[in-house]
């Protein structure tokens, strides 16, 4: 695989990048995801790419691997400018990507998956099973992976599937390997095995781009680090001599939002919502798996509790478990105004005065082709009806109230919700829930996909609602947003609560430290 590079030239060429991205910009519908970033990878190095959610890491990788083709700037492989028109082109150039999500067919065997789409055939018709099994065995052996090439992928553990994915990527003779959060589903043992393989590959001359949130892993594994923030390149440095805090500070940056802030209420009084030992277990292939465990917090009237943590840390699950909108075994105690409540369905939750504004407003929050009026009135259609007849007047009044109160910019309450801008759609969803007169407002990523001006309006709205005495819980991936909104911040890591910090002690660095999953760290709750 490495024959292409003559041995004696390796040392002289090792400083020349095998892959270089220069001045790459990419935007989605006017929202810039990458602004003039650069990145370079040398043969035989493990190069970590770090940044917060939305920093542009995955976007750049998709540019490099031919997924996104409409970008500005240049990609060079071995010094030559290339422009991939699809993933196949990138593969041909020796670039393989292992996405965070697995792209395997569970019903097929290991070998079949490795050579999917590139089957060895006899007479141009029949799959040569024997040849592909042998080739797969050879490949797995070389990587030191002990897997039966005939085993069905669906029966393997996730960690083993990840290894199959790696074997698949390497079967195309890749010289450049991109790994996007490959360890998020692996056990510590599997991680170690993966790292060993990675080091061996690097020693063979493969350049590896490694994306991970686990700073300790990055520090022990990689040769160089590049940090992105808000779609911009911050710096690229050799790992030697770097410490954790330097990296975190670079990822987080300084005040991105010119934080303007209301005067806070006293935040005293009895808790409106009180959650004790909340847990959620979902059934998986290996029995029940804990998604949440031992989450406890209180929210008082007028208080905003922020929930921070990395993706998959269980933030959304907290809200969904309270609202009983997810599947699985829910445990723990929820008290509303000091009275224990039993919430078995979103219907119960709504009746009790909970409101959930979901992360994915198009799939879970709105009826896009229906009018603003119908959307806002939906939860209350039954309540407003008299003897089975809908009160169209009442529904209209409700919608008008919401549109006026929240300043939804629209042609009228009859406009279809799907034709509104993201910010206005979000206002409609919030308006729908405010109409139900909630005590507790659960907001999941309330400003996702919303432009800056509208974000501001949503923040003002949240502050106003807190001022009106609602107990508010906000989940957000954006640390500046959490710091701006929250009175206290609950930090989650791997389904556990790792900290509940007050506004005064909260900083982006502190949250990141609490949120970082440590492969070494035990299961103890901090």
């Amino acid at each position: 695989m490495r024959d292409a590079i003559p041995r004696d030239s390796v040392t002289t060429e090792s400083d020349r990048p095998i892959l270089a991205a220069e001045a790459i910009s990419k935007s989605f519908g006017g929202v810039a995801a990458l602004k003039d970033v650069r990145f370079e990878l040398r043969a035989g190095e493990i190069h970590a790419l770090m940044g917060e959610n939305g920093a542009g890491k995955s976007t750049l990788m998709k540019v490099l691997s031919g997924v996104y083709t409409d970008y500005e700037g240049a990609v060079r492989v071995d010094g030559e400018t290339v422009r991939f028109s699809n993933v196949r082109d990138a593969e041909a150039a020796g670039i393989a990507i292992i996405h965070q999500e697995l792209n395997l067919v569970p019903e097929l065997g290991v070998a079949d998956n490795i050579f999917l789409g590139r089957e060895r055939v006899i007479a141009g018709l029949f799959v040569d099973r024997k040849a592909s099994l042998e080739a797969a065995r050879g490949l797995l052996n070389r990587l030191g992976i002990e897997l039966d090439p005939e085993a069905r992928v669906g029966q393997l553990r996730v960690g083993e599937q990840q290894l199959v994915e790696i074997a698949k990527a390497l079967s195309v003779e890749a010289r450049i390997l991109i790994m996007d959060e490959p360890t998020s589903a692996l056990s510590p043992g599997e991680c170690r095995r993966l790292f060993k393989i990675m080091r061996q590959l690097a020693a063979d001359g493969v350049g590896i781009i490694y994306i991970s949130h686990r700073i300790d892993e990055v520090m022990q594994l990689s040769d160089r680090v590049t940090v992105f923030r808000d779609g911009r390149h911050v710096w690229a440095r050799p790992m030697a001599g770097l410490d954790e805090n330097t990296i975190i500070a670079a990822m987080v940056g300084r005040n991105l939002l010119d934080a303007h802030r209301r005067d806070r209420g006293k935040g005293g009084g009895e808790p409106v919502l009180s959650v004790r030992d909340l847990s959620l277990a979902v059934s998986g292939r290996h029995g029940w798996r804990d998604v949440l465990k031992g989450v406890s917090f209180d929210v008082r009237a007028g208080e905003i509790l922020g929930i921070g943590g990395l993706l998959g840390a269980g933030r959304t699950e907290i809200l969904e478990t309270i609202f009983a909108s997810n599947e699985g075994l829910r445990g723990g105690e929820i008290r509303l105004d000091g009275i224990a409540v039993n919430i078995r369905s979103p219907r119960d939750a709504r009746r009790l005065g909970f409101a959930l504004v979901t992360e994915d407003r198009k799939a879970k929050g709105l009826h896009l082709h229906e009018s603003i009026r119908d959307n806002v009135a939906l939860p209350l259609v039954g309540r407003l009806a008299r003897f089975g007849l809908r009160s169209f007047e009442g529904e209209r009044a409700l919608a008008k109230g919401a549109v006026d109160a929240l300043g939804v910019r629209c042609a009228g309450a009859g406009q279809a919700a799907g034709t509104l801008s993201g910010g206005n759609q979000q206002k409609v969803v919030i308006g729908k829930w405010l109409a139900t007169g909630p005590r507790v407002l659960l907001l999941d990523e309330p400003t996702r996909g919303i432009d800056v001006g509208a974000k501001r309006e949503i923040y003002d709205l949240i502050f106003k609602l807190a001022g009106d005495g609602l107990a508010i819980v906000v989940v957000s991936s954006e640390l500046p947003e959490l710091l701006l909104l929250a009175d206290r911040i609950l930090v989650m890591a791997e389904g556990r609560q790792t900290g509940l910090i007050s506004r005064e002690e909260a900083s982006e660095e502190r949250i990141m430290q609490l949120a970082a999953p440590r492969s070494a760290r035990g299961r103890a709750v901090a």
């Binding site: 965070q100 998986g284 879970k364 309540r383 008299r386 809908r390």
Partner: protein, 440 residues
């Protein structure tokens, strides 16, 4: 959007008008020069002929609006024709009785209890006034005990009306109670399995289609016997009223059809239930998260679909003077075709009963025209198929924006959004589904 919707609706009426004009212009004339197609006798005949399909299409519309489908209606109708014919002609202990009486009992119990609870709920609502926006909760007495008691009393009353008819033969009112109740029960079973078992409506109702056909044959007994109904000789003469003209003009089945369309149409338009039907079809998850009991709404749509199949069955028996296990064969497909021609989206959430009414009439007029021209019945089938495709193609023009969206470059490959977390989340969910971890 509204404009487009209005346009699509007019397009529908245009379709109806067009086919009507074709009928008028191409119609053969009588010897006295009168247009046969236009004669009131012919048009009323069309109404009579479409009534059975129409009733079934009415129930089907609501099911499809929720995003479901009901393939079992033909077989349910078959069961009900057998039950109906048997009750009318055979006195005493019959299979139909064992099927029918529990169904009636259960149906009256549940519907009665729900109705009483509904009344209490609304009295309480009026008392609370509009300012109280929280849902109204009933106390135990009025929420459970009294409705249950009322249901039992009602059930007893109905059974005491029906039981004496056991010894003799059932009358019109009797079969009009029992046959629809049987349909309602089977329809509700469909709904419960779909909701509780979280299964695809297609597969559940397909299984019910087969099962119900079997039950119909078992009930009929003796080699799938056809049960003839001769009003006046082996059945009560009153039963004939179901096939006669009302006021000497409109055929009785047509009245049933039109009333069903109007009533169910009003329910879909003016009641919270109707609103929920559309909301579930449009986005079930959003509806559920808004606190709507989606399962209950869906069960009701399937139950009503069964109920309407039962009513259609009674009319069928009156019309063809027989009940038989293959009475409704293929009817579900006619009904679905009529619903789709009427502009209701199979994806759910969009459409109306007005559209279905047009769809049913277009279908009926078409058959009528082909018959008037004495076109070979096999060729008729071919032409019908072609017309269905043609009509739906025209309808699909309204979904043009959707198609255009799907064809966007790159859209098919990967969600084109820099919004990593959403992407990652969804893909992780997809993964857990493909890995068989989570069944939705």
């Amino acid at each position: 959007m509204n404009f487009l919707k209005a346009l699509s609706r007019t397009k529908l009426y245009w379709g109806l008008i067009a086919i009507f004009l074709i009928g008028v212009l191409s119609s053969p004339l009588t010897s006295s020069g009168r247009n046969i197609f236009l004669s009131s006798g012919n048009l009323l005949d069309v109404l009579r002929q479409v009534s059975t399909t129409g009733l079934i299409a009415t129930g089907m519309t609501a099911v499809i609006l929720t995003g479901g489908i009901d393939l079992s209606v033909g077989s349910l109708m078959a069961i009900c024709t057998v039950v109906c014919a048997m009750l009318l002609t055979v006195p005493g202990d019959t299979a139909a009785l064992y099927l029918g009486l529990p169904a009636v009992g259960l149906a009256v119990l549940v519907v009665g209890a729900a109705a009483v609870r509904f009344v209490f709920l609304n009295i309480e609502k009026s008392r609370a006034g509009v300012t109280h926006i929280r849902d109204i909760q009933l106390d135990r007495t009025r929420g459970t005990v009294l409705p249950a008691a009322a249901g039992i009393v009602l059930c007893a009353l109905v059974l005491s009306f029906l039981l004496p008819q056991m010894q003799t033969k059932f009358g019109v009112l009797g079969v009009l109670l029992v046959a629809p109740a049987v349909g309602l029960m089977f329809g509700a079973v469909n709904g419960v399995i779909i909701v509780v078992g979280r299964l695809q409506p297609f597969i559940v109702t397909l299984a019910m289609m087969v099962t119900a056909l079997g039950i119909a044959r078992l009930t009929a007994g003796q080699n799938n016997a056809v049960l003839p109904v001769y009003t006046g000789s082996n059945a009560t003469a009153d039963f004939d009223m179901l096939r006669q003209l009302v006021f000497g003009i409109v055929p009785m089945p047509g009245i049933f059809f039109i009333v069903a369309i109007l009533l169910y149409g009003a329910v879909l338009r003016f009641t919270p239930f109707g609103r929920y039907v559309y909301a579930i079809g449009g986005n079930e998850e959003a509806a559920r998260l808004s606190g709507i009991n989606a399962g209950r709404v869906k069960i009701v749509t399937y139950a009503v679909s069964g109920l309407l199949a039962g009513i259609a069955a009674v009319l069928y028996v009156a019309q063809y003077r027989q009940g038989k296990p293959d009475a409704g064969a293929g009817l579900e497909l006619d009904a679905i075709a009529a619903v789709v021609i009427g502009g209701t989206s199979l994806m759910g959430g969009r459409g109306s009963l007005a559209g279905t009414f047009c769809g049913v009439l277009i279908f009926g007029l078409l058959s009528n025209i082909l018959q008037l021209h004495n076109i070979n019945s096999n060729l008729q089938l071919v032409l019908k198929g072609v017309i269905i495709i043609g009509t739906v193609l025209v309808q699909e023009r309204n979904a043009y924006d959707l198609l255009a969206q799907l064809r966007l470059p790159g859209a098919s490959r990967r969600p084109a959004q820099g919004d990593t977390s959403v992407e990652e989340r969804t893909s992780r969910e997809t993964l857990s589904i493909t890995m068989g971890g989570k069944k939705k």
